[in-house]
């Protein structure tokens, strides 16, 4: 049995409802604690300022916490047990700091089919575009999520 495409290709190029994020010190601290990162720039405002930052700094992968208020249309109805992390990338125009108010737009950039010895999968390529209220670019976070076909086993698992 072969798996067939399950993600609606007509949604390529569409965006989820844009949303605003207020970057909070507490959210940065909890994120840094969860990932076990003790770097002072995430906890100590005076220290961060001494290095030229405008406030407590958000860790480089922090924009992964910026999520639309409801699931984007292209994800809705899919089986959460079949998602796997594929790739992520962050391009920065400036650091994100506590106190920032940011506008976020999540776009479905592409959907691609992929086959391997383990079976078929679809790659969901999304771009989160993060701008200042004035419209200046701050960060783009590309998220490539793997959606395993129904008959596809866990890919890339090392034998053990």
């Amino acid at each position: 049995m072969s798996d067939r495409a399950e993600i609606d290709r007509t949604l390529i190029g569409s965006s989820a409802a844009s949303f605003t994020v207020e970057v909070e010190k507490g959210a940065i601290r909890r994120f840094a604690e969860a990932v076990g990162d003790p770097a002072q720039i995430y906890f100590d405002e005076a220290f961060a300022r001494s290095l030229g930052y405008a406030g407590i700094v958000a860790p480089p992968t922090f924009p992964t916490t910026f999520r639309p208020h409801s699931k984007p249309a292209w994800i809705r109805g899919l089986d959460e047990g079949r998602f796997l992390a594929g790739e992520q990338g962050f391009r920065y125009w400036r650091p994100i700091v506590a106190g920032d108010r940011l506008e976020c737009a999540l776009r479905l950039t592409d959907v691609q089919d992929k086959r391997s010895s383990k079976g078929s999968m679809e790659l969901i390529i999304q771009d989160l575009v993060i701008t200042s209220p004035a419209g200046d670019m701050v960060c783009v976070n590309r998220r490539v999520v793997i959606y395993r076909g129904l008959t596809t086993t866990l890919a890339q698992e090392a034998s053990s």
């Binding site: 969860a34 992968t61 992520q88 890339q156 698992e157």
Partner: protein
Amino acid sequence: MNPAALHKPGDTFSIRRGPITTTQLVMYAGASGDFNRIHYDHPFAVQAGLGGVLAHGMLTMAFAASCAVEAFGQASRISRIDARFTSPVRVGDVVEVTATMMERDAPGGPIEATLTAEVDGRVVLRGVVEVEGSMS
């Protein structure tokens, strides 16, 4: 105060994180907003064919980012960080991330390092980080 560990091409810097606990995965779920049950609900993850819970890929990437920031110093400004997840990470795994400074394409160009995360010698993440600045 936060000296860079990478100065010239070929220099390496490593950090170690873990062993990863289920508690940490729950903390990361809460901090990140990624509540996919494959990361903390063992029966669900088994039923999904994963053999048990998997760590969030983005937790491993956060480790890679920690390594990058420490390697270049907290004053450095990261302009780009990219990663590909090559193998699952599970509870109990110890993750070692190594940053290796790359040759510079041109004087004044971006400073780059490769990032490799491993569990017992198995590569779980490959990436690259680019920082601004004019490190000599």
